[in-house]
Amino acid sequence: MVDYLWNTQSPLQKALVPGRHGAAGAHVGVTLNEVRDIVLVQVMARRGKAAEAAKAAKKLFGIEAPATPKAVTGKAATLIWSGPDQFTVIAPRADEASQLAAMAQVFAGSASLSDQSDGRCLIRVSGPRGRDAIAKFSSLDLHDLAFPVGAAANTSVDHTAVNLWREANGADGHPVYNMLVFTSFADSLWHTIVDASLEYGVEAASARAA
């Protein structure tokens, strides 16, 4: 009997070509990263149980679950608002089964969980011209005053839903934006993001979540 190998494949398998693209020159304008190997769970409070669900979140992650479009980072996970009375939990994939089990246990009765670890692809956009590139495919106002660090939004890119949030500025002092896109759209949206960035010079890479 052969034994079966279950190699995993990223939706960006073909689209992501690591390295430098677009305009040459000393400076890279936009840095694009695929963040692989994440655990992603959609948490939806049960009817009339929003408060209990929030308590459960606090218990497990030690932080208030976001009640408005925000991303908050707690114990071993970031919680991103993804709709009224619901949020998305994102964490680096360690022991996936027990990560999911722990959540299932804590939220039992107060929220329904939907494992989307394979349903979404996480793309990080940073660099001095990252915001200019995003302005070509997103109608969000990403000005510091309108979209500070920690801000989050459910929005559309190319007519498809995307969760976008801003984390702490990068070492270069420029903003860093995370985009959760649907797995089946990842190949397409990656091309859109790259095309929007070419005139600024792009550096593309892929890395495990940490």
């Binding site: 939706p11 939806m44 329904s112 394979d118 349903g119 106002d141 759209f185 397409s188």
Partner: protein, 1020 residues
């Protein structure tokens, strides 16, 4: 012509710049017969070569094509639309009606470009258009002979006999004659994109008022965007100069620009023309990123469309000088007075040596000074008002100016332009004046277009004889000349006030500072629209609409301005009547004895200036037309040479051709036989998948499906059908119960989105009392259908030995999680679309490629075969399963033969409306099977079904073929169809009528389940 060679002692005494040094620029200057020796906002160190109609000329950086042509003494640049009359340059801006040229060539050929806005670049190539064989000798100008016939609306009155001649003779001639430039006939090779910008205050127009507004709003601390269509800020200040805060206007512009660019909260965008005002404070602008270079650089776009979201906007778009209508007013060399000043002052190019000025207002008189300062002669000033304005009396005496009180009644000259001007004075005496250029000013029209884009109506002001903005779109104010404030001082104050107010309304609390100061020159005008005299006098230069066309329209009852526009085409040319609309309606007002405000304006429509279609499409071209979706095994299938098709956004494998197969039918047949006789698999991940959770999930599904789901046991799957509220079938799919409070629902690929929205509507709007949570799991799972008699054998290879895969252990319609060898857990559903023993297996998407690979390994000895959507389709037709072509939005559950599924015990979406008489009528078209009698005959979808031997006609048309395939099992073409009373007609021979494809043959109506009607195979 002699013109102004460098040797002549001309040019401003106080030159703005030093004289040119380099040899090349001296050569360039020498060729530019009408270029002043000094001055102008051009860079004489950067000479540029260009060609017009093949003639090579030179200009300087900072020129427009128009100013370069003026500098080279070129007067004739175009032919008019209808009469092909010789035309020159009339204005110096985007309102230009005449000087349209064809830019570039080949795939980049670009018709109807305004020479007045096209920046000059080295190597620019432009052609005149709408003439044959040449601009000077245009054969089509014989149209002028027929001019007495070609009056407004003439074609409505003729070309009617004989009827056939319209398409064959008349229209082709008219079409060939019409149009202006030629479009490229190759795909546009340039790239475009679109972007979003957001601000508190959007300032539209970078002249005195706009700079003042942006500065005030910027200093106050609000987020400001200033857009200017020109390549540099300054507006009329660049042409008329003046003094602001004690400094030269150009210096003030420089300083203001510096301060604005230094403010972090202000964004200045030049070469950016605002063209549309949309709801909710969304403004659209076109940035001409690379139109001033021959070809965009690598990774650069040609143009970019901006969608600017602004809380407030201040329109400081200035005003447009209007012509006066008089015979010969279209001759090359007749130019707006403001344009003459622009060419002289900003571009150091002289439109003529002896300039006559025809003005009915004080502002026109500025031209006298401009021409004299540049060393030109003023042949005469013709002002119907009869007296020199106070401000200019000194000047008039000093240069003992020839001032005539009257109007221009004719213009002498030819294709090379003006030679003389005939003046009829207020006492009716006429005299001819020698001049090579006629500067005209009929007064100024504030640019009210943008403020009227939401169908607001402008308001008439008698003191300036012009319209000013009325009720503007929400959040918009207007300032400066666009608001009817014509003096420089007023523009600065008005702009500053508007900018400060807008910033304050956006909550900015900073100090807006003080408005800059300048004089308040008088703007006195006595309206003069037309000089009535013999000869063609033009209102709309581009469309050749004359004053007599307007009065003819009035005589025929086309008195409404909209009728006037549509009957005479006044204002419908590429300039949208910027220089003609108001004049035209003024003449109509006089003809009808109404006032101008009573007559009213036509509706102002976006775009303010024409926008390239490519720019509006932006990046969404070719493969980027729409986003695309890939299944988890896409790359695996591609590596196996699968043939893909775009269905909706998905790319799906249709079949997997093998070497030696002559066509797709052969490949598909092989795949079907492999499944029916062995085992095969197909990626069905495109199906919509929804997790339905919560205590009331069952009740919820009972209400959205026509059949019951609360009664479904955990671990079981069931086929479900949902209706629209109007009783027509919406979608179908299998739904299984994973746990008491968890169902896994699937939809068709096409309806995944709409069904999800519908379910959320039911949850959030119709039945909010139910405890249900919905989440799309479509992309989470890689799902494969595995089918064929050897399916179980294959799965036993793949699943963990501890799993019971026997018919009892995993019965038909069973659904549960199973462990796979190698440690992955999968969801397994025993459901069949093919009619064989079949399972659908789901694993997390990351394992999709591995799953395809492992199915190949597990089934190697069984000859496992991957199959595509075509084979899937063949097998569903053989089994009589309905799909897209049958679920066409007009069929009921009963039409599809699924009426029995409708629960009688409960309400569900669509139940009541499905009961309407016409939807339950006995003669409805229902799903049947169709088999051609001739087994060789290929059946085609879209063929119609008639009674045997019937004559084709509406009354014998009884239905049509919806889906067909070549059935490898029946070894003939078969199909499904929707046929009147079909279920009562199994065995009946009918006529298949397909006139489109010249086919006509007989077929038998039969049970739609062609293969294994008892369904033994899928249960075995």
């Amino acid at each position: 012509m002699s013109g102004y060679s460098g040797s002549e002692p001309l040019g401003r005494t106080a030159a703005l710049e030093g004289t040119p040094t380099s040899a090349r620029s001296q050569a360039a200057s020498a060729s530019q017969s009408h270029r002043l020796r000094s001055g102008g906002l051009i860079d004489r160190q950067q000479p540029l070569q260009f060609s017009f109609d093949g003639k090579v000329m030179s200009g300087f950086a900072g020129d427009t094509l128009a100013s370069a042509l003026v500098a080279n003494g070129v007067k004739l640049v175009a032919r008019s639309f209808k009469y092909h009359r010789p035309r020159g340059i009339i204005t110096a801006g985007s309102e230009e009606p005449s000087a349209l040229v064809e830019m570039r060539s080949g795939a980049r050929k670009e018709p109807n470009t305004r020479a007045t806005t096209q920046e000059l670049y080295d190597g620019l190539v432009a052609q005149s258009q709408n003439r044959w064989p040449s601009l000077r000798r245009d054969f089509m100008s014989i149209n002028q002979l027929a001019a007495p016939i070609f009056v407004a609306g003439f074609y409505y009155k003729t070309f009617m006999w004989p009827a056939k001649f319209w398409e064959k003779v008349y229209e082709p001639l008219i079409r060939r004659a019409a149009g202006l430039g030629k479009s490229a006939e190759l795909p546009d090779p340039d790239h475009y994109d679109k972007a979003w910008a957001h601000c508190d205050v959007l300032v539209i127009g970078g002249g005195a008022a706009g700079l003042s507004a942006a500065l005030a709003a910027g200093r106050a601390g609000s987020r400001v965007i200033l857009v200017e269509e020109d390549s540099r800020l300054g507006g009329r200040l660049l042409s008329d100069g003046g003094e602001i805060d004690g400094m030269h206007a150009e210096e003030w512009v420089r300083r203001t620009t510096d301060e604005l660019t230094a403010l972090p909260n202000v964004r200045v965008m030049v070469r950016t023309a605002l063209f549309g005002v949309y709801d909710g404070g969304v403004y659209a602008a076109l940035e001409r990123v690379n139109d001033h270079v021959p070809v965009p650089g690598p990774h650069q776009v040609r143009q970019r469309v901006w969608r600017i979201v602004a809380k407030r906007s201040v329109v400081t778009a200035g005003a447009i000088e209007r012509p006066i209508v008089f015979p010969g007013n279209d001759r090359p060399g007749v130019m707006m007075a403001s344009a003459v000043r622009t060419y002289v002052h900003r571009f150091a190019a002289m439109p003529g040596r002896k300039v006559a000025l025809f003005t009915n207002n004080d502002d026109g008189w500025r031209t006298v000074e401009a021409i004299q300062q540049a060393g030109g002669d003023i042949a005469a000033v013709i002002d119907p008002r009869g007296k020199v304005p106070a401000e200019y009396q000194a000047l008039a005496e000093l240069s003992d100016l020839r001032v005539l009180s009257g109007g221009v009644s004719d213009v002498k000259g030819g294709v090379d332009g003006v030679r003389g001007v005939v003046v009829t004075d207020n006492n009716g005496r006429t005299q001819q004046i020698d001049a090579d250029c006629l500067a005209v000013s009929g007064g100024w029209n504030p640019n009210v277009g943008l403020s009227c884009f939401h169908r607001g109506r402008p308001v008439w002001r008698d003191d300036i004889a012009a319209f000013v903005p009325g009720d503007s779109p929400k959040g918009m104010t207007t300032a400066g000349a666009a608001n009817g404030e014509f003096s420089l001082g007023a523009c600065l104050r008005d702009g500053h006030a508007a900018g400060a107010a807008a910033a304050a309304e956006c909550g900015a609390s900073g100090n807006a500072g003080e408005a800059s100061e300048a004089g308040d020159e008088v703007y006195a005008i006595s309206p003069l629209w037309q000089v009535k005299a013999k000869g063609k006098a033009f209102v709309d230069f581009q469309h050749d609409v004359t004053a007599s066309d307007v009065t003819l329209a009035q005589r025929e009852g086309f008195e409404s301005v909209e009728h006037l526009k549509r009957y005479t085409t006044l204002g419908m040319a590429t300039d949208q009547g910027k220089t003609s609309n108001i004049t035209g309606l003024a003449i109509m007002a006089e003809a009808t004895g109404r006032t101008i405000p009573q007559t009213g304006t036509t509706i102002y429509r976006p775009p303010y200036a024409p926008v390239a279609i490519g720019a509006l499409a932006g990046h969404h071209r070719d493969e980027n037309f729409h986003a695309w979706r890939l299944t988890p095994s896409h790359h695996w299938a591609a590596a196996r040479g699968a043939v893909f098709v775009d269905t909706g956004l998905w790319k799906r494998a249709q079949w997997y051709p093998q070497p030696g197969e002559k066509d797709w039918i052969e490949s598909v047949t092989r795949e079907v036989l492999a499944v029916r006789n062995g085992v095969g698999f197909c990626d069905v991940s495109t199906l919509g998948k929804v997790d339905v959770r919560g205590a009331d999930a069952g009740t919820f599904l009972d209400r959205v499906y026509i059949n019951a789901f609360s009664s479904l046991a955990v671990g079981k799957a069931r086929y479900g059908l949902m209706l629209r509220e109007d009783g027509i079938v919406m979608d179908d799919g299998t739904t299984s119960r994973i746990a008491e409070d968890h169902y896994f629902l699937t939809t068709t690929t096409a309806k995944a989105g709409p069904v999800m929205a519908h379910l959320e509507f039911c949850r959030q709007v119709l039945w909010p009392e139910l405890d249900v949570q919905l989440s799309s799991a479509s992309d989470q799972w890689a799902q494969f259908s595995i089918a064929g008699p050897n399916t179980r054998k294959l799965l036993q290879e793949l699943v963990d030995p501890s799993e019971d895969m026997s018919n009892e252990g995993f019965p038909f319609m069973g659904a549960r999680e199973v462990k796979l060898r190698g440690g992955v857990t999968a969801r397994l559903f025993r459901i069949s679309f093919s009619g064989e023993i079949a399972f659908e297996i789901s694993v997390p998407a990351r394992y999709g490629a591995a799953m395809a690979q492992n199915l190949m390994i597990a089934g190697r000895d069984l000859g496992v075969t991957p199959y595509g959507t075509e084979a899937l389709g063949v097998m569903r037709i053989e089994k009589g399963h309905v799909a897209g072509p049958e679920l066409n939005g007009t069929t009921t559950a009963d039409d599809l033969g699924l009426g029995k599924m409708m629960s009688k015990k409960k309400d569900f979406i669509g139940r009541v409306m499905a009961g309407r008489e016409a939807l339950t009528a006995p003669d409805r078209q229902v799903v049947v099977g169709i088999k051609p009698l001739d087994q060789k005959r290929r059946l085609r979808s879209g063929a119609h079904v008639l009674p045997k031997g019937a004559i084709p006609g509406p009354e014998t048309d009884q239905g049509y073929v919806t889906s067909v395939c070549y059935s490898p099992m029946l070894e003939q073409w078969i199909g499904l169809g929707l046929v009147e009373r079909g279920r009562e007609r199994f065995g009946e021979i009918v006529r298949i009528h397909d006139p489109l494809r010249n086919e006509d043959y007989e077929a038998e109506i039969c049970n739609p389940v062609f293969y294994d009607p008892e369904g033994a195979r899928q249960r075995g």
